[in-house]
């Protein structure tokens, strides 16, 4: 039986259980059963519980535009794109959204684009992401390049980014609408004091961008030494 996620309605579960039970042979010689003990052993839970989605990032620390001479492929969505322009965004978020998860990691959307997580950030609380340039139609109907600061940055439903497409993103943005999640620029608390909007970095390729990212991770999330070393080791 295909398992249901816990957010499905209880009534549906009950119906399903009844239906399945009806097709099983259950002996009439059922043993006398006793209730389970009242006090289960004390438990530890190290992994933070899965937080609700959609949810906004807490704050935007820095936004750095970049452009590359040589493109690279953005594989964080089903319809992969070649990237020559985009933004590095430094942001803050609660730990439950940042810890690395295998089963249920929320997809981070910046506007209508999937963001590539560069570090984990669960200790520092700071996450760096790379957001390839995207375009979106404004209220006037004109297609324009998206701007991170005027876009919503949301942790969307957990999913594998490689399975995410425009339709999925659209549905998630609709959920964000329903949850009244505003764009970052619309929240005075979202942009931290000292926020810097840098000039666009002109770089050769993704390797060069990785070296910039290494410096940024070292500055904002210095405990992630293995990640920093890996970013620097690329040649």
């Amino acid at each position: 039986m295909q398992k249901m996620r816990s957010d499905m309605k209880t009534t549906a579960t009950a119906i399903l259980i009844s239906l399945v039970a009806s097709i099983f042979f259950v002996s009439t010689a059922e043993a006398q059963e006793v209730p389970p003990p009242a006090k289960p052993p004390m438990q530890e839970e190290g992994m933070p519980a899965m937080p609700v989605t959609p949810a906004s990032v807490t704050a935007v620390v820095e936004v750095i535009p970049f452009k590359l001479e040589k493109p690279y492929e953005h594989n964080m969505r089903k319809d992969r794109v070649q990237v020559t322009r985009g933004h590095v965004v430094v942001l803050r978020a609660p730990k439950p959204y940042l810890v690395a998860r295998q089963v249920a990691e929320p997809v981070l959307l910046v506007g209508a684009q999937t963001a590539e997580r560069i570090n984990v950030g669960d200790v520092s609380g700071v996450l760096l992401v790379v957001v390839p340039e995207w375009s979106e139609r404004g209220a006037d109907g004109v297609l324009r390049a998206g701007e991170p600061l005027s876009a919503r940055m949301i942790f969307a439903t957990p999913e594998l980014p490689e399975r995410v497409d425009a339709a999925w993103i659209s549905r998630e943005l609709t959920k964000a609408d329903a949850a009244n999640i505003p764009p970052s620029i619309g929240r005075t608390s979202a942009v931290v004091p000292g926020f810097t909007a840098s000039r666009a970095l002109a770089l050769v390729d993704r390797d060069a961008l990785s070296r910039v990212l290494a410096d940024l991770v070292e500055r904002y999330s210095p405990n992630e030494t293995d990640r920093i070393a890996a970013l620097r080791a690329i040649d």
Partner: protein, 752 residues
């Protein structure tokens, strides 16, 4: 039995190898003519005529081992003809043939008896269990069956431990040279219950070359003349030893290691940010022959530098290990691509890596993939892509991937894509995993789904108290379980190091010294440095060719009919069901409407099925064995796997290992019963983790029970193992636990 019978006995050693070389198939698919041709080839095999290990093969008493004896073997093939059953296994099979061939030619004046002697003591009948692997520093038992060797009871014999010799070596040198410096005198006990003695092994070393195991032959020198001679008993007469003395599998191996901290493959087929590798290898690689390659693919948010413990460990045992950046954030397809491409790039760039230090040193025909979490699913998906030929490489092919080891894999892609197919597969998994949790509400976190899909040899090492990131150095503490049960990453990694080494040695190297660590009860055999308080549940299922299924529950879905077509009698058991191993709802709370509560081993699209029932008084389940399957001597083990029912009242009331008794009954009604308590331990209770409803107890922990066929022979005295009419499991009363609820599956005979 005809040689074309699918149940014909497997043969071993050189003759079987030669047959495969010539015909590309096993004895079991051979015609009598084919066998005869190969036998002649064996006889002509260089050195074969010199093999004279005594007169074990002189069936007709002519004074030599010759064609007439060969004819007797062929004439008795598949029967239990004692004259032709040279190794007293209960069947005339390939092993007898091997013994005969090893003795070909004139008889020497001596005729030792081949029998199993090395053993583990059991608290109940059959008192001695003839296992073959023993820990360095642990107890090595020896038992002389006082029934079979009644003439020796009360006499003094010498137990002699000799470094393993082949049959040819024994023929050339029958002198008994005890590795301990002196043999061990023993007055042969009169009763089976007192028959097991401990060998004095002080000062004896373990390991041999790259192998953790050192093989010994064990001789009972009955006439105490210091020579293998008539009337002596030998355990290990063939080329394989009588027993292995094994080093700590979790400790470093014989090689000093070195590593390349970071190597960039600069491969256009790999994402720019995923090109790094860390490489571990023996420091003396220049002096070594090409070694198998082990590839490690990390999980999401993990790092390729987080597996030093495993890379260094395996390199110390002679393997070349490459841990690579793994593109897990996008998903499983990208992860699998990274594994596939890094394997290709590594093999292509051996001339560049480390200045070419590994050039010519990697055996690209023997590759092991290890993957963690999303990376664990990624290796299964990678193998599936090779299987589907949607990925091909100029540098390796699917046959080169010899083994997958998945550590807590996710299951995003499901049945058709997260699929190891028939490649040998190992699952390493912690019961306190707070991420890939084995929870009932999502298939994605059910690692056992992937395990159950593996159709070849498969093994599971389920580690109580280990969490997801205990299997790397530096991931977040995700422990989820009862306070006080966390074993910590040092202990979990010791289990992982030992289990992965054992699996690689067994599968990739054909090293038999490590196999028993993968299926014996952990209470009976565990790696030396793993704590006795650590609970590990082993599952082991051979490849289909080595199985004769009595009931695998995959067909004939009624509880009263086995998959092999025989009737099944259930007496006294309750709440019986036979279905997919799939918890039907989103909680672990026990409910009669969810008979497979806790079974997190299948999606709706998966095939694995089992039986489940409970008891609270003396009861039984009895399988009538179809006539075609009644010769149990085709196998070495009677086996099944079982798990306690999660949060069932009987499970909760017992809260300990469940035990029961496995009984064989022959056509004349002679019984032989083995209580599984004799194996040490039993079926482990579920890990006592809460959540997902009320009550305590986590997902079903299936555990293998393998009972050596010889144990039934020893316990049943006159039972005819060639004519087993029924296999019965008895519960309650004197048969084991007074109550319980069990999921049972794969009731079968196993050839190896």
């Amino acid at each position: 039995m005809a040689l074309t019978d699918p149940d014909c006995a497997p043969s071993g050693a050189r003759s079987e190898h030669l047959f495969r070389e010539i015909h590309g198939s096993s004895w079991c698919s051979a015609s009598a003519h084919q066998v005869a041709v190969v036998l002649m080839a064996c006889i002509a095999f260089p050195g074969a005529s010199a093999l004279a290990g005594g007169c074990m093969g002189d069936i007709d008493g002519s004074g030599d081992v010759a064609g007439s004896d060969l004819a007797a073997i062929l004439g008795g093939w598949g029967t239990n003809d004692p004259a032709a059953d040279l190794n007293s296994s209960g069947a005339v099979d390939g092993e007898d043939l091997a013994v005969l061939l090893s003795a070909w030619g004139p008889c020497p004046a001596v005729a030792p008896i081949v029998a199993e002697v090395a053993c583990v003591a059991a608290a109940t009948a059959p008192w001695a269990l003839h296992f073959n692997s023993f820990n360095l520093g642990g107890t090595v038992g020896a038992a002389i069956d006082p029934v079979r060797f009644s003439d020796l009871v009360g006499t003094t014999v010498d137990l002699v431990v000799v470094d393993n010799r082949s049959a040819a070596e024994w023929a050339a040198n029958p002198a008994l040279t005890d590795v301990r410096g002196a043999s061990q005198a023993l007055v042969v006990p009169a009763t089976p219950a007192a028959s097991v003695v401990s060998l004095l092994m002080a000062g004896v070393t373990a390991g041999s070359g790259d192998s953790p195991g050192r093989g010994f032959d064990l001789v009972v020198d009955a006439d105490r003349d210091g020579t293998l001679s008539a009337g002596d008993i030998i355990d290990g007469a063939g080329n394989e030893p009588g027993f292995w003395y094994v080093k700590d599998l979790a400790a470093a191996g014989p090689y000093a290691t070195t590593s390349i901290a970071s190597y960039d493959v600069n491969d256009a087929d790999i994402a720019d940010t995923m090109e790094l590798e860390r490489i571990y290898y023996p420091a003396s690689i220049a002096a070594l022959a090409p070694r198998p390659l082990v590839v490690i693919s990390h999980g999401n948010g993990h790092n390729y530098a987080w597996y030093d413990y495993l890379g260094t460990h395996l390199a110390s045992w002679g393997y070349i290990v490459m841990s690579h950046q793994n593109d897990t954030v996008p998903g499983i397809e990208t992860a699998s691509t990274t594994t596939l491409e890094h394997t290709e790039s590594f093999l292509a760039q051996l001339g560049l890596i480390g200045g070419g230090v590994l050039n010519g040193k990697v055996d690209g025909d023997r590759i092991v993939w290890i993957g963690h979490s999303r990376g664990g699913e990624g290796i299964a998906r990678g193998y599936d892509r090779l299987f589907d030929a949607t990925f091909t490489s100029p540098n390796y092919q699917i046959a080169d991937i010899r083994l997958l080891i998945a550590i807590a894999p996710t299951d995003f892609l499901g049945t058709t894509s997260a699929n190891p197919h028939s490649v040998p597969f190992m699952l390493l998994y912690g019961s306190a995993d707070g991420d890939v949790c084995g929870c009932p509400d999502s298939d994605i976190g059910d690692s056992f789904n992937v395990f159950e899909r593996a159709t070849g040899l498969r093994q599971s090492t389920y580690v109580y108290g280990a969490d997801h990131n205990d299997f790397n150095c530096c991931g977040i503490n995700d422990f989820a379980g009862p306070i006080g049960t966390a074993i910590g990453n040092t202990e979990a990694q010791d289990v992982a190091k030992a289990a992965s080494l054992a699996m690689i040695r067994t599968v990739v190297e054909g090293d038999r010294s490590t196999e028993e660590y993968l299926w014996r009860q952990y209470e009976s055999l565990k790696p030396i440095s793993v704590a006795s308080t650590t609970t590990v549940v082993n599952e082991w299922k051979p490849a289909p060719a080595n199985i004769v299924a009595i009931d695998d529950f995959q067909t004939n879905g009624a509880t009263t009919t086995s998959s092999s077509g025989g009737s099944v009698t259930l007496s006294g058991v309750a709440s019986t069901a036979e279905s997919a191993q799939n918890d039907l709802n989103t909680v672990f709370t026990w409910a009669t409407t969810d008979p497979f509560n806790g079974a997190t081993r299948a999606r709706t699209s998966d095939a694995t099925r089992a039986s489940v029932f409970n008891w609270s008084a003396a009861s039984l389940v009895a399988w009538t064995v179809p006539p075609a399957l009644r010769d149990f001597t085709v196998g070495k083990f009677v086996s099944l796997r079982a798990a306690q029912g999660t949060r069932h009242p009987n499970t909760i009331a017992l809260l300990g290992d469940v035990t029961f008794t496995v009984v064989l009954i022959d056509e004349l009604g002679v019984e032989s019963a083995i209580p599984i308590a004799a194996l040490s331990g039993g079926i482990e209770e579920p890990y006592q983790r809460t959540g997902y409803g009320t009550g305590t107890g986590w997902q079903n922990a299936m555990e293998a029970i393998r009972i050596p066929m010889g144990a039934f022979r020893a316990a049943g005295n006159s039972i005819d193992l060639t004519r087993i009419a029924s296999l019965v499991i008895r519960f309650g009363g004197s048969n084991g636990s007074a109550q319980g609820r069990l999921v049972i599956d794969d009731v079968q005979i196993e050839r190896e």
